[in-house]
Each structure stands twice: as C-alpha cells, then as structure tokens.
C-alpha cells in the first residue's frame, strides 16, 4: 500500500531483514512496527520482536482488524518458539476467527497450526489432533503444508504410529521442496532423524540393544511378556497390568524380567526396590510382603517363584521376556526429554508440560545444571533452559508473510 512498506516487505520476503529495517527503522506507524517486529524475530531477538508486534497490534486502528489479527498470530508464534506456553490462547482463537471471516485463509490456518503445535508440546495429543483436523488443508501455501505435516508427524510419533509419521514426513518433504525455505527443510530432515534414531533399549536375557520407533511399535503385536518402563506396565498382547501407582512393585518386576530366565538375589531386589544398601531383617520382611503383592498382580501374566538365592519370574503362555527401557536412564529423564527439543524453555513451561510443580522442576534443573546436562540463559522470569539440540517436532519460526500486505 505504502511505498516504503512495500519496499521493506519485499526485502523481508527476500530474506534481507536488515534491508527491511533500514527502510522502516525510524518509523513508528503500525505497519512499520509490524515489519520491524518480524525483522527482529528473523534476526533472533524474540523479546524485542514480541514487544514491537504488540505495539503494532495496538497501533492498527479499529478498521484494520485483519492487520491486527496477523500481528497477534505472529506474536503467538514467537511465544510458542520461546516456549512461553502460558500465552493467552483466547486471543489467538479470536484472531483466527477474524482472519477466517475476512477470507485470509492461509493466515487463519497458520494460526490453527500454532495452536496445534502448542497442544502437541503440552502432550495434549487428542486436542492437537482435533485442532488439526478442523483446519482447511488446501489451498495452502507450501510452507503451511509443511508445518501441518510436521505437526501430524509429531502426533503420530508420540502415538507410536510410525507408518503415519513416515507418510506425513514424506508429504512434508515434498511440500518443503516447493516452499524452498532452508530452515523448514532442516526441520523436516530433523524430524526424519527422529524415526531413524534409537528411541528405546530392549533388554532380553541379560543383553540389550537399541530400538527404533518402528521396532517399538512392532512390539505391540509381539507374543512376549513386555515390561514397559515408559508406561510402567507389564503386558502380553492384550493383557496389561499397570503398575503406574506402584513403583516398588514395578521395580521388582523389572529386576526379575531383566534377569530372566535366571533368578535375582534378595539383596539385589532390596537394593533396587527399597534403595537399601545394608539390608536388615525388616527389609527382608518387607520384601516378602511386596513379592506377595506382585505375585497377586502378575497372576494373569506370570508367576514369581522363590529360589535358593531369591526369586525368579516364570511367564505364562510365552517363552520370551523383554524389558523396554529409555535409551538413557537417569534421574529427571522427563525434564531432559522435553529440553531435548533444542529450544529454550522456561521452568514454568516445563512444569506446565510435566504437570508438576515449578519447585520440583526447579530442583531437577538445578541438579541437571550441576552435572552440565542443561544450560540456562537470562535472569529472573526471562530465564530459559536448554539441552544440547536433538531433533524434535516443529519448533522453527515461520511468521506469516502476508502479514506485511494490507
């Protein structure tokens, strides 16, 4: 519409944020603020970008509802990338409705993708899937198609549906070639890597080897007795015993399964289940009680027999016992798992995602920081935590380019 705005927007689209800033650096009208915000986001200064976009949204007049809505969408995307998960989702939904109403379908879909990505990060898979299903699929710009497929792949990966994930990533790879955005291509590649990187360890007869996501999925139909440390269950095909609320029983079951067909000594069992270094008579009594409880729980799947040394597992209707474990087992593995998406997280966002208290997360982070497994930057409420980058699901910034046009 306006000459310099057009010139700056063209510079941004051509991947030249500094050229865009040069043209509007000294202007404070609404479109200039929005352009500066997007340029700053592309340059990586997300805090500055956020405040500029917020000012732009305010500066657009009441007759410019579409431009204002686009600013809100861009701000939401910055919040998502900054892992600021407490961002008001209602404003995003309202902005999406405005864009829908005015026929800006591409940006409306972009807003919907941001919402779905937020739900995916929070682990609310059903809601994320539902949000995605409600969005139009075409005609969308290629970049939006990529994001859509990445979110779909992220959901499928979390659900252990490898085939669906691969199909979505294939479609994403196709669309990314049309979009021609290197950062987005890197995300698709990273997501593909997740499928080809061991996601678990399989322990059987005292030996272990890494498992890919697809192999974990295949275990669901295996005839073996599987002790699943991800879900704290013990299962054989459709028969599932959940010990999620019984950590002591689960620890015992796992020790027995790992040693199978050999037995496990009482001392080893007590050490694993009670963290008892020097077992005394009260520990022995407690072990007898807990084994009795485990025996009752496992009755449909296995028996627990006493041996000279201690106890051994005897599975029913199968001759195979497997333990499915995390690739790396350590304390605070869930915190690390989230941080491993390579993005900066606030401790409150981590607490929200893990459904635990901020204090618990803070303690875990402090411990992990002492052993150099995580790092932080910023101070006070702006402090963010990161782990060495590992491929994850959609994380990059893809601000809506039509934002620039009125």
């Amino acid at each position: 519409m306006e000459s310099l705005i057009t010139a700056a927007a063209r510079a941004l689209e051509a991947g030249d944020p500094l050229g865009a800033l040069n043209r509007v650096a000294l202007r404070n009208d609404a479109p200039s603020l929005a352009l500066r915000g997007i340029a700053m986001a592309q340059l990586g200064d997300l805090a500055k970008a956020k405040s500029l976009l917020r000012s732009a949204a305010r500066a657009f007049g009441p007759r410019e509802a579409v431009a204002r809505a686009r600013c809100i969408v861009a701000e939401a995307e910055i919040a998502l990338v900054s892992r600021d998960l407490s961002w008001p989702v209602k404003a995003l939904a309202a902005a999406r409705a405005t864009l829908d109403k005015h026929g800006d379908l591409a940006n409306a879909a972009h807003a919907g993708h941001i919402e779905a990505r937020r739900l995916l990060l929070l682990g609310r898979l059903d809601e994320a899937e539902h949000a995605l299903a409600g969005l139009i699929t075409s005609p969308l710009p290629a970049a939006s198609q990529v994001v859509r497929e990445l979110v779909g792949a992220g959901i499928a990966i979390r659900r252990l549906r490898t085939k669906d994930a691969r199909a979505a990533l294939d479609r994403a790879a196709h669309a990314v070639r049309l979009a021609g955005i290197p950062a987005l291509a890197a995300e698709v590649e990273g997501a593909n890597l997740v499928l080809d990187t061991p996601a678990a360890r399989l322990i059987a007869r005292g030996r272990e080897h890494p498992l890919l996501l697809g192999e974990i999925e295949a275990l669901a139909t295996s005839k073996a007795l599987v002790v699943d440390t991800f879900h704290h269950t013990i299962r054989r095909q459709g028969v599932v015993v959940s010990l999620g609320t019984r950590p002591v029983l689960f620890a015992l079951a796992r020790q027995l399964a790992q040693a199978w067909p050999a037995d496990v000594s009482r001392e080893a069992l007590m050490a694993a289940a009670f963290h008892a270094r020097h077992a005394d008579e009260s520990h022995r009594a407690r072990l007898r009680v807990e084994i009795g409880r485990l025996r009752a729980k496992l009755r449909p799947l296995a028996d627990v027999n006493a041996t000279k040394q201690g106890f051994a597992l005897t599975p029913r209707k199968t001759r195979e016992v497997l333990v499915l474990a995390r690739p790396v087992e350590e304390k605070h593995a869930t915190v690390l798992a989230l941080l491993c998406d390579g993005e900066p997280w606030s401790s409150s966002a981590l607490a929200l995602a893990l459904r635990t208290s901020a204090r618990t997360v803070q303690r875990a982070l402090d411990e992990l920081a002492r052993s150099n497994k995580v790092q932080s930057f910023g101070h006070g409420r702006a402090r963010r935590w990161m782990a060495p980058p590992v491929p994850g699901f959609p994380t990059g910034l893809l601000l809506p380019t039509p934002l620039l046009k009125t």
């Binding site: 000459s3 310099l4 705005i5 063209r10 043209r23 202007r27 009208d29």
Partner: protein, 212 residues
Amino acid sequence: MKRSAAEIVREYGPFAGVEAVHGVTYDGRHVWFASGDKLNAVDPDDGKIARSIDVAAHAGTAFDGRHLFQIAEDRIQKIDAATGKVLGTIPSPGGGGDSGLAWAEGSLWVGQYRERKIHQVDPETGKVLRTIESKRFVTGVTWVDGELWHGTWENEESDLRRIDPETGKVLEQLDLPAGTGVSGLESDGGDRFFCGGGDRGNVRAVRRPRRS
C-alpha cells in the same frame, strides 16, 4: 452523496511472476502497472503484458504524456516511457508513506495512505503545493474531466470515491465487493477506471458512471 456498487467490467491477470500490483496508469494504449521491481504495460484488448521496464516500483504510477512517474521507497522517479531510462527523482511528500500517484494540470497528485491525504506536488522540485484531506486511507488517485477520484482500502473494504478537490468532501462513491482491494487507480479518459488489485496481483476495469 451518490453511492452505488462498482460495476467491474473486466479483470486482467493474474500475471506470471506478479505477486502484487502497487500502482496503475494508462498511456492511451497500454495499462501500466507497478509490481515491485518492474513496470508492466498491458494491452487492455488482449490482456497480455506487452512490455516491461526493470525499475523499483513500490507504489503509485502516473503518466504525463511522455514520462512515467513511479514511486519507489521515499522518492518519485521520472522515467522516459520510450527508453525506460530514469531521468531524475524528486522526494515524495509522504516520505515513504506514499501510495497513489496521478498526473493532472501540470502537477503530480500523491495519495498518502495512512495520513488520509492527497498532496499536489510540483513535478520538477517535489514541493507540496497544497494538501487535500480525505476520510479514509488513500490508495490510488486519478483526475478525469475535472473530477478528482481516489481509491480507499481499509480492513478488506474498498471503494472509489469522487471528492471535492477544495474541501475533500465525498461527492460520489462506488463500493467494490467485500475483500476486493484497490491499489492504484487510473481513468482511461472515457468510461473506464483501471484499478490495481493489491496482493491479488490483478487489474480490474470498473465502469465510470455517466454524467446526465
């Protein structure tokens, strides 16, 4: 004030490689439109691009009979229509907030989008001779038969309006269908207006109401 729905008689484009139309003018034979880094001449009969000039073209376009005037960033370029050579530049009155451009009566008329103003500018020096206030964001500007018309575009709503050049009062208004933007406006001197379609990348011909 007379108000009616705009009658779109023809649409040109979209054109290959054109993302948006920023300014429109007419040289008596071709409709010229600005598309960011080019000025393109369209034959209004077959709708095809006959010629293009590589020049920065971010907003309004005008024609004085020999030269094309084209806004780029914060200046107005004077271009030899025959050779495509930039002969000179003057500063634009809106300092880059400029949108529409028209030629009439020896002056350039520049719409300043968000300021809702139209400036009359000396084409030699860029000096602002006078300023007319409008009520809405000004996009394209054109003069025809002593009438001053300009396009508006706010929140996906557009119209063409004839205003009193002295007072800025709206005398007549043609509403475009919802979601149809106007960027760039030019009269063909007869019963047609050519309007740029913004980021739809097209040009529309709208019928000019007949005088009784």
